[in-house]
């Protein structure tokens, strides 16, 4: 049976993006910081991972374990459209390559097996009618497990 998650799937995916260099930790002050669940107003160019509804994929007949794959959305905000599109596309490729990542959050180990059902990059356009910042999103579902 799977152990219940202590951290949200968005937190775990965020950590994987930082660990493998697709983005940076906000405290480092470098370009493309990665946040989870709440997008800050500054800096202009950020990556934010959100939790979304996942899929229930049936039950294991031996022990009754329910297979559930939580959903995540990776959102890119950039100053210009070409820059955001390029970053979002590279993130999408990175997400497709993620495989058996070992991640530790607050002392709790997780394995992120992969991200599946990765959508194409969606360009949502201006962040708001008064903003020039551009928004791009990518959807996926995560196969992950708490190790201990």
């Amino acid at each position: 049976m799977d152990l219940p998650l202590i951290h949200s799937p968005a937190d775990i995916v965020r950590r994987a993006l930082i660990a493998d260099g697709a983005g940076t930790a906000p405290e480092s002050g470098q370009a493309w910081p990665v946040f989870s669940s709440k997008e800050p107003n500054t800096p202009d160019q950020v990556i934010t991972v959100y939790n979304t509804a996942g899929f229930s994929d049936g039950r294991f007949m031996v022990d009754g374990e329910l297979f559930y794959h939580p959903g995540v959305q990776v959102r890119v905000r950039s100053l210009t459209s070409p820059l955001g599109a390029t970053k979002a596309e590279s993130l999408r490729n990175f997400m497709a390559r993620l495989h058996n990542e070992s991640i530790t959050l607050g002392g709790t180990p997780y394995t992120l097996f992969c991200l599946g059902k990765i959508t194409e990059v969606r360009e949502l356009g201006d962040e708001s009618p008064t903003s020039k910042r551009q928004i791009f999103t990518i959807e996926a579902v995560a196969a992950l497990r708490r190790v201990s």
């Binding site: 997008e39 934010t48 959100y50 979304t52 509804a53 996942g54 899929f55 229930s56 959903g71 959305q73 959102r75 969606r122 949502l124 356009g125 928004i135 999103t137 959807e139």
Partner: protein, 118 residues
């Protein structure tokens, strides 16, 4: 003793063919919202909705009721309804779950829902 029954066989065959899955093993149903800003509202998880509703107003029920949507189709087919009728019923079921989640400002987005075979 013999009894004769008059059957309009051509009509019966046409009716059965219409209900049959033959040649219609794959049909596509589109369920969605036609408002031009529907995608923006649906995908923008950072947007606040003070008057209720939420982002992912279609994806969330589609995932949550995935099994139930399949059951609607199966039940209709078991009751000898056509594949088209079964799919439209499933789409209607999904919209019933989705519409209460649609953020309402003017109501245009909510009213732009559609459920059609393509």
């Amino acid at each position: 003793m013999a009894t004769s029954i008059n059957v309009d066989s051509a009509r019966v065959i046409a009716a059965l063919t219409a209900r049959s899955l033959k040649g219609k093993k794959q049909r596509t149903l589109e369920v969605g919202y036609a408002a031009p800003y529907a995608t923006y509202v649906h995908e923008n998880l950072a947007m606040a909705h003070p008057r209720g509703g939420q982002a992912k107003y279609l994806q969330e029920p589609a995932r949550r009721y995935n099994g139930d949507i399949g059951k609607v189709v199966r039940r209709k087919l078991e009751n000898k309804r056509s594949l088209d009728e079964a799919l439209l019923a499933a789409g209607k079921f999904l919209l019933e779950k989705s519409i209460p989640l649609v953020p309402v400002d003017t109501g245009y987005l909510r009213d732009s829902s559609f459920n059609r075979l393509v």
